[in-house]
Amino acid sequence: MTELVTFLVQAAAILGGLGLAVGVMLIVASKKFKVETNPLVDEIVEILPGANCGACGYAGCADFAERVVNEGAPINGCPVGGFDVAKEIGGILGQEVSEGEEQYPFVICNGGLNCVDRFDYVGFEDCKAVMLLSDGEKGCNYGCMGRGTCVRACPFDALTIGEDRLPHVNKNLCTSCGLCISSCPNDILVFAKESEQVHVLCTSHDKGKAVKESCTVGCIGCKICEKNCPEEAITVTKFLAKIDQDKCTACGICVEKCPQNTIAIR
């Protein structure tokens, strides 16, 4: 029994002594190699959400905080924190922040089940994987594959693939970080402001005949919307209508007139 006790005491003493020696050495070293850090940076790191998602364009929250203080990076650069965080950073640095309008990812494809398949894809459930096979199974080369690459890219679970095989954005969970937008191989996710009401839900530049063969809701470039818009907000280039959001008043005439039901008000 006493042997065991001495044994344990010895072991503890050796490890403890080692720890003590190392600790003292580190304390001395930290005094000697002390780096003056800006207290403002630490304060801003405290405020930031700490997601380290990289949506601000810097390596992480700490890096962003340092750039804000030292290199004048935009104080509203953190999309996850949003306006509240920008305001607090502004409070620390003594800068005024104006609130930008909130914008969310928006799916500009209405294909999904409306779009015919050229072949049956059996394999890895990922848009990029599908795209490797002659630009995807869909008859339309521009549309949504519906395989959920954006859903997996979202760290906040704000996206789901619905019954119509299209992604849907849950605005309550979305932080507008833009990771889903950069993950989409076909660029059918874009940022849209809340005030932008009317959207062309198609990105196909194919000619009308080709679009009609593959998709029942694609833009065929017939220019009916362009002729009927009272504000001249719509232009058709390369068989695709585009809405000038500054001119659009959301009167809804183009939505009624579009023979393909491509334009929608939300």
Binding site: I14, L15, L18, V35, A59
Partner: protein, 195 residues
């Protein structure tokens, strides 16, 4: 103890028992810090220093503290303490003297602590029953082997950014392909230099 020439130990550490490509130790930094040559070189320098220091300090602790008190079973935990302290020391020095390197290494500098390659050097020294000089030489050799592979990997990855590669392979998958081919090249050293 098997007598072994220092040169043999050096070659052993650099090529035949190359820590990254033959023993698969320290792979997180291998994949993580090899995006450009500059940070790979900085990381390698830090690892060489930590490996040499850890080899010598842990030899002293093992031989003069643990063996006389018959506490050899404490080797793992005391080596970890030593390595962690050394890495902390390196971090202080790098942060003070080379701030740009400190920023580009980021999370990987503290990760040397958990870099199994460093612990691997120390434990291999113990199991091969090297003496002090042999231990230090093996530590330096392991660091040099690490450096060579890191620089080759970083050079290849830097140049391959100009190559047209399918987007689905770009990044990590591409790094794994490169690592595979480098590893196959290094396996040949088993036959080229018989020891």
């Amino acid at each position: 103890m098997v007598e072994k020439a220092l040169f043999a130990i050096l070659m052993d550490g650099i090529f035949i028992k190359n820590f990254l490509l033959i023993q698969f130790l320290g792979l997180c930094s291998f994949v993580g810090v090899t995006k450009d040559v500059k940070s790979a070189a900085g990381m390698s320098g830090a690892v060489v220093f930590v490996m040499a220091m850890a080899a010598s300090v842990s030899y002293l602790i093992y031989t003069y503290v643990l063996v006389p008190t018959k506490m050899e079973f404490l080797d793992l935990i005391s080596f970890i303490v030593v390595i962690a302290a050394l890495v902390q020391l390196v971090e202080f020095v790098v942060r003070k003297n080379i701030p740009s390197l400190y920023r580009s290494l980021g999370i990987y500098l503290p990760l040397i602590t958990t870099n199994c390659a460093v612990l691997g050097v120390v434990l291999l020294n113990v199991s091969s029953e090297y003496n002090f000089i042999q231990s230090v030489v093996f530590g330096i050799a392991a660091g040099l082997g690490y450096t060579i592979v890191m620089l080759m990997m970083a050079g290849i990855r830097e140049r391959s950014t100009f190559v047209n590669i399918p987007s689905s392979v770009r990044g990590l998958p591409q790094a794994f392909f490169i690592a595979t081919m480098l590893s196959m090249a290094f396996v040949n050293y088993f036959w080229v230099i018989p020891i």
